[in-house]
Amino acid sequence: MTAGLLAAEWTKIRSVRSTVWSLLAFVVVAIGFSTLVAVVVSNNWTRPGPHPNQITLHTDPTAVLFGPGFGLGQLAICVLGVIVISSEYSTGAIRASLLAVPLRIPMLAAKAIVFALIDLVMSTITVFAVFFISTSILSSHVSITLSQPGVTRACIGAILYLTVLGLFAMAIGGLIRHTAGAIATVIALVIVVPPLITLIPGTIANHVHGYLPTVAGVLIGQTAQQPADVLSPWQGFGVFCVWTAVLLAACGYLLLRRDA
């Protein structure tokens, strides 16, 4: 693979409005929603009544800081991951792409690298923006700094999670090739299936739930291990990476096998 292929994928991504809007939606939703939650928590700090958030801010601060904003914002990353590849099929641009790169796999690899880098950069900016905005809003009630145990790892973990999530969505987009179907599948895997699995009683279901791609993946964004977690943060991230790698490999295999 050459620098030219990377440049070409960068041109493709930046020259289409939908990708630019998805990235913007990710940043705005993540920062906006996190800020809203931080403001509400801060304003209600001294009100009577149970405040589970206040307790969690001490035991697992990043869960409160990142949970709402990225729980919602990650959907934009899912959509973007799908459309960077499925839009090529829906518009027919894939034919032009594969005429230029008939071996196909270098095109997929270049796309994955460029998209992962964009995702990484945007996630880094957004995660740290959310962290510093939210902690400063809450600073009069609770002090959260990067030097506290697990906090820096959780921030980096959130960035890594969002980056791998993009590739996870891209792989599914490349497998399904239809934008709507692929987005529905990714959203189902990320937010619909996990709570449904927990409805099944028993330890097996608990383990299945723990090994689901994003359930395992988000553990790296937690400051501290929770009692119910099946996996440690890095184990969880490893499981998520394996899921993604397998899906990308399947995507590459079918890209080679199928007619364009």
């Binding site: 292929l5 070409a8 493709k12 289409v16 090529e88 518009t91 027919g92 034919r95 008939p102």
Partner: protein, 313 residues
């Protein structure tokens, strides 16, 4: 000693190319060769498998059996393929949200073609004014021009053009025709598909004719026209039985037309006149018939038209 690297010849060669979609055979053991330096027309009715064949040559679809090569190599073996082969495919292949310039730019980047070449090909096809506009707003004709610009991006020796006249106005069609002739005169291989015999008659030097995915004819355009427009003569006479006998004895073939006339093939009009005179048969009419090229083509491909298939393959 002269160190000269032989220029890779730009032959396109299909050998026993076969492609099935389910139980439908789209391309059926198709073999042909396309030579450089001339325009080769790829002719067949809609649904005959022309587009599928082109996609097989370009490595977009995989054949079930057989091979297609360009200069002896499969498309996927070509390094920087756009500098060897330019292809305009029938189906749309541009993201409607991307500008013409960015579409060509990303293609150029994959081949390490300098970006200034993008502006050159935009100029070549007359799209410079709308280079920054989103392709989704383009007319059919502008899309065709963008497709031709993409095909010319790498200044390739081999061009595959699938129905390039689609959506073009008469002026555009003339432009494409002259453009193809010019490319061929520069020594390039030009392989152009069409379902219109009339268009190919004035554009192509050579023809590959297919129907139902199988080869029907491969010859020069001139030869094809001569062969398929076999002359027939319309004869009217009150004494049909007698004249028929004379014509058949002389080696001609007689069929009845619906108005009571006889259509004679295998004999020229003057000879029929002489035969009639020698036997004192009265002639009411003796008219040499020239079937149109379109008719000849229809006749040749009769039975190979796929009906009920709205999707051109």
């Amino acid at each position: 000693m002269l160190w000269r690297v032989a220029e890779a010849p730009g032959h396109i060669e299909a050998r026993e190319l076969t492609k099935r979609f389910g139980d439908k055979v789209a391309v059926d053991h198709l073999s042909f060769t396309v030579e450089p330096g001339r325009v080769t027309g790829f002719l067949g009715p809609n649904g005959a498998g022309k587009s599928t064949t082109m996609r097989l040559i370009c490595g977009l679809d995989w054949p079930d059996s057989g091979t297609a090569t360009i200069g002896g190599l499969a498309y996927k073996q070509l390094s920087r393929p756009l500098t060897r082969v330019g292809a305009l495919l029938e189906a749309r292949s541009v993201h409607p949200g991307r500008s013409a310039r960015n579409h060509l730019l990303f293609l150029a980047q994959t081949q390490d073609i300098p970006a200034r070449r993008v502006d050159e090909v935009l100029e070549l096809v007359g799209l410079s004014d709308v280079a920054g506009k989103r392709a989704g707003g383009f007319s059919l004709g502008m899309n065709q021009r963008l497709g031709i610009a993409a095909a010319m991006l790498g200044d390739p020796k081999v061009l595959l053009l699938d129905e390039p006249g689609n959506g073009l106005d008469p002026e555009g069609i003339r432009w494409v025709r002259n453009f193809m002739r010019q490319l061929a005169s520069e020594g390039r291989t030009v392989f152009v598909s069409s379902h219109l015999m009339s268009e190919m008659a004035v554009t192509a030097d050579h023809l590959v004719v297919i129907g139902r995915g199988a080869l029907i004819a491969e010859s020069s355009t001139q030869e094809f026209i001569q062969r398929s427009s076999e002359r027939s003569v319309l004869v009217r006479t009150p004494d049909q039985a007698r004249l028929r006998e004379l014509i058949v004895d002389e080696g001609g073939k007689v069929t009845q037309d619906q108005d009571g006339g006889m259509v004679v093939t295998g004999l020229e009009a003057p000879r029929i006149g002489e035969l009639a005179a020698s036997a004192s048969v009265v002639l009411h009419e003796l008219t040499p018939q020239l079937p149109s090229l379109e008719e000849a083509f229809m006749e040749l491909t009769a039975g190979s038209v796929e009906f009920g298939d709205t999707r051109t393959s």
